[in-house]
Structures are given as C-alpha cells and as structure tokens.
Amino acid sequence: MMNTTIAKLALQALLGRRRFYLLLAFPVLLIGLVGLVTALADGDAAWEIVPGLGYTLVLPLVAILSTSSVLGPEVDDGSIVYLLSKPVSRYGIAISKWVVALGATLAAGSLPILVAALITGDSTRALALFVGAAVAGTTYSALFLAISAVTRHAVIASLMFVLIWESLLGNLFSGIAWLSISQWGIRIGHEISDQLPDPANLGWAIGASLVVTAVGVWFAGDRLRSFSLRGED
C-alpha cells in the first residue's frame, strides 16, 4: 500500500524552506523553556509545563502543521489532480502521506516531550508521558489528515477541535475525557506512572485511539477517491 515516491515527495514538501523552521521552533521552545525553568527553579516546577503546555498545545500543533504540510498545499493550489490522475490507489496515497506526517509528529512533537520530561528528573513519568504522546500523536495525525482531505479550512477546524473542544471545554466538563485524544494518551501513560491522571477506562482509551487512527486514514483515502476541486470561497 505504501508508495515510496509519494512519501519522498511529501517529505520534501514537509522539509521545504520556512515550514521546517516553524516545525523546528516548537521543540526548541519547549525544551529551552523546560531547561531554563529547571535550572532556575527546580524539576518539579518545570514538570508542570510538560503535560500542561507541551502535551496539550505543542504536540497537537506539530501534528496540525505536519499533516497540513503533506496534504494542504497540494489541495490549496490544485496540483493534487496530477497526483490523483496516476494509477496509484488513493488509500496508498493517504497511507504514504500519513506515514510521513506521523514521523514528523513523533520526531518534532513526542520526542521533545520525552527530552523535556527527562530534564525535569523522574524518568518513569517521562517514559509514561512519552508513551501517551506517541499514542496521541499517532491518533492526532490520522484525524487531522482526514480533516485536511475534507475541507480547505482544515487548519482552523483542527485548531478548534484542539483548543476549544479538548482544552477549553475539556477543562470545564470532565466527561469530555472520553472523547478527547489527549486524554486517551494520558490514560495509557497512567499505566506506566501514576503521576499522570486517570481520566477514562484503559480499554476504551486503547480501542478509541486505534479506531480513530484506522478510520481517519481510511476516510482520508476515501475522500481522495471522490475528490473534487473547488474554487476559493
């Protein structure tokens, strides 16, 4: 299913010019901030930043940026029709692009969270948060890929999901944990270290993450199958 040429092109689109610096800015910012706070105050004060800012804000933003870089520009300028006119399975296109976006999310989102959490000291909780971040990063990138195959305003729609549904409403209503990708990741990390909260059922968290990932990538392929170009509104 995986097509190496498409993956290579997606990787080039991702690493091209300014986009790369924007993607790089997030991990640098996170690790720099955590390092600074650890040096000036102590590890436990800095730890608050990692799940609070890194996990809930930086990870989804990196996922949004990388998924929209692999699919967004082509949909934007219409050059995706040249790709779609080739005799390659649309699901194969979706999977190849998703693998690249996933790699970028893990490298620029989950890995810096591990590094930042290690700086604060306790390596068990760092590993727990990393596992959570890897699961959440995988699920996020599949969901956002599906969103970018549906609408031109994918970035804003994804941002609204993360900022308004997961952060704003998630803080007000604890029940949203059952429908929040970041909380599923936290729940899986809770199995390794109980310094992370326990917002939902473990079976549900694993099942829901798997289902959203699989359905997200399948749905992106399905949307590409019946893709139609529209003008800007």
């Binding site: 300014r18 986009r19 924007l22 800015a25 997030f26 910012l29 901030l33 706070v37 000036l40 105050a41 004060a45 800095a46 608050e48 930043i49 609070g52 800012l53 804000l57 930086v58 933003l61 949004i64 940026l65 929209s68 870089s69 967004g72 520009p73 934007d76 031109r152 305003h153 994918a154 970035v155 804003i156 941002l159 609204m160 900022l163 308004i164 952060s167 704003l168 800007e232 509104d233």
Partner: protein, 295 residues
C-alpha cells in the same frame, strides 16, 4: 487614448473605452471604502456563505457565556457581576486569538497570494496606506468582537439594577483596554499573515504568537511568582500581548488581578511596550506592502 488626469500619471483611471470627466474622489474616499469592505469581509459579509460560518461561530461562542452570566445575575439577584468586563475578555482569550488568527489571512494574505494587490496599487492609493487601512479594519473588527459580549454584560447589569456609576466606569475602562489589545492582536496577526501567504501556515504562526506564547509567558509568571521572584514574574508579562493587557488592567484597577501586582513604574513600561509593539507591527506591515507594491 485621452489622458484625463495629468496630475497623477501612471494611474489607470481611463481605460479608453468610455471617457469620464465627472468628479474624481480622492485617496480619502478610496481608503474609507476599503476600510468598510475590509471590516465586512472579516465577518464574511459580502463573501460566500461558507466563509460566514467561522467568524459567527466564534462570535456565538464568545457571547454564550455572557448570556449565561446575565441570566444568573438576573435570576439569583446578585449585587455584582461574577466576572468583570475586562476579565471576561481575558477568560475568553482563546476565542479572541482564534478569531484574529483565522480572519487576519482574509485581509492580509489573499491579495498578496493572488497578486490582486497590483490592481489595488494601480489606483491612487499608496501601498503604505493600503496596509494601514487593512490594519484598521482588522483592529475595529477585533474590537467589535470583544465589545459585543461586554455590551451584553453591561446591558444585563443595568437591567438588573446594579450600581450605575461603578458599572459605567468599569465598562469604559474595559472598552479602552480592549481597543489597545485589538491594536496589538491585529498588528501581530496581520504581520504574520502578510509574510506567510499559505493560509494554514499563517494561522499556525498567529496561533503560536498569540496562544502558545501567552501560555508560555503565563507559565513562567506563575512559576517565578511561586519562587518569590516577583520582579521576574512582572517582567515576563511584557512578552505577550495578553499578559500586557491583563497587566495594564491590573494596574488600572479594571477588574483583573495578577499573581504579582503590577505597580511602581511597571505600568508605564507595560504601556510603552504595548505601544512599541503596535508601532513595530505597523512599520513591518508598511515595509512589507511597499516591497510587494514595488515589484
């Protein structure tokens, strides 16, 4: 081809199809029209139905809590609003930032991306004025976005008979602070969208500058206040528009309480940094549009 206006050479007024010798409106009228069109476009008015969804969904979400607050005040007969006018904007800052980030590309990216900017600049409107008018449109739109729930809260407070002079003072302070905040947000989001022309990247860039940076600064402020480094905490507030807003509101007694009170000469520094930020963004915008216009 007849040349109708020799005083402004190089300006396309007379395309040669039909002669016009009526009164020609000056730069002022063009700027005013551009301002009104820009303001309408931010809210999706005069654009397709789909582009009205985002601004009005965000507006509805920022008005809804105000309606709930008013309902609670009226039904339970509280003698003051549970949240002050300035603090309400601070509490809904996610929505305001998202509105700025999502709507700034409408005014600042589209003309540059599709090169329709050359058509605007072919008229007697300098690139610098174009940039400034666009910024004014976005500023007024953001200010309206924040003022609507504020006015609703105020109306609710008046109707339920709260003390009139207190409420009027508080609402006036909030409106002035919101205007300053709108100037900063419009400058930052506008500058980012005019540099980064791909819609998605402009939005992520603005979100980073408005939401992520505010989160970082707030975290640093909380940690340094916790470590008893009070002046570090106050100084950190200089680095994000939202903490500048809440810091000035704290110093001006407008209903926001910071962890560490902003007093002494700090309020002056906050105001100066806010004004410098606006001025810097405007200079950047003018330089950007001058450069694009001369190509």
């Amino acid at each position: 081809m007849p040349v109708s206006d020799l005083s402004r050479p190089g300006v396309i007024h007379d395309l040669g199809y039909r002669h016009f010798d009526g009164v020609r409106e000056g730069t002022g009228t063009i700027a005013r029209t551009l301002f009104v069109t820009g303001l309408r476009h931010v809210f999706g008015l005069g654009r397709s139905g789909k582009s009205k969804i985002m601004p009005f969904v965000l507006l509805a979400m920022s008005v809804l809590p105000a309606l709930i607050v008013v309902g609670v005040v009226v039904l339970t007969g509280l003698d003051s609003l549970p949240v002050s006018y300035a603090d309400y904007t601070n509490q809904t800052q996610l929505l305001v930032s998202l509105f700025a980030a999502s709507q700034a590309p409408v005014l600042f990216s589209r003309d540059l991306r599709h090169r329709s900017i050359v058509l605007y600049l072919a008229r007697p409107l300098p690139g610098a004025v174009f940039a400034l008018v666009r910024w004014v449109s976005l500023t007024v739109a953001l200010w309206l976005f924040m003022a609507v729930p504020t006015i609703l809260l105020f109306a609710g407070a008046m109707l339920s008979g709260l003390d009139k002079s207190d409420q009027v003072t508080a609402v006036l302070k909030a409106v002035v602070l919101q205007a300053l905040l709108a100037m900063m947000l419009a400058g930052i989001a506008g500058l980012i969208s005019s540099v980064s022309l791909r819609r998605g990247f402009a939005v992520v860039g603005s979100v980073m500058a408005l939401i992520v940076l505010a989160g970082v600064v707030t975290a640093v402020q909380a940690i340094s206040a916790d470590q008893d480094a009070d002046s570090v905490s106050v100084a950190a507030g200089l680095f994000s528009p939202w903490t500048l807003y809440s810091g000035i509101a704290d110093a001006w007694d407008a209903g926001i309480d910071e962890l560490v009170p902003v007093d002494g000469a700090w309020p002056l520094a906050y105001v100066l940094v806010a004004l410098l930020l606006v001025a810097g963004c405007l200079l950047g915008l003018v330089a950007r549009f001058r450069k694009v216009g001369s190509r």
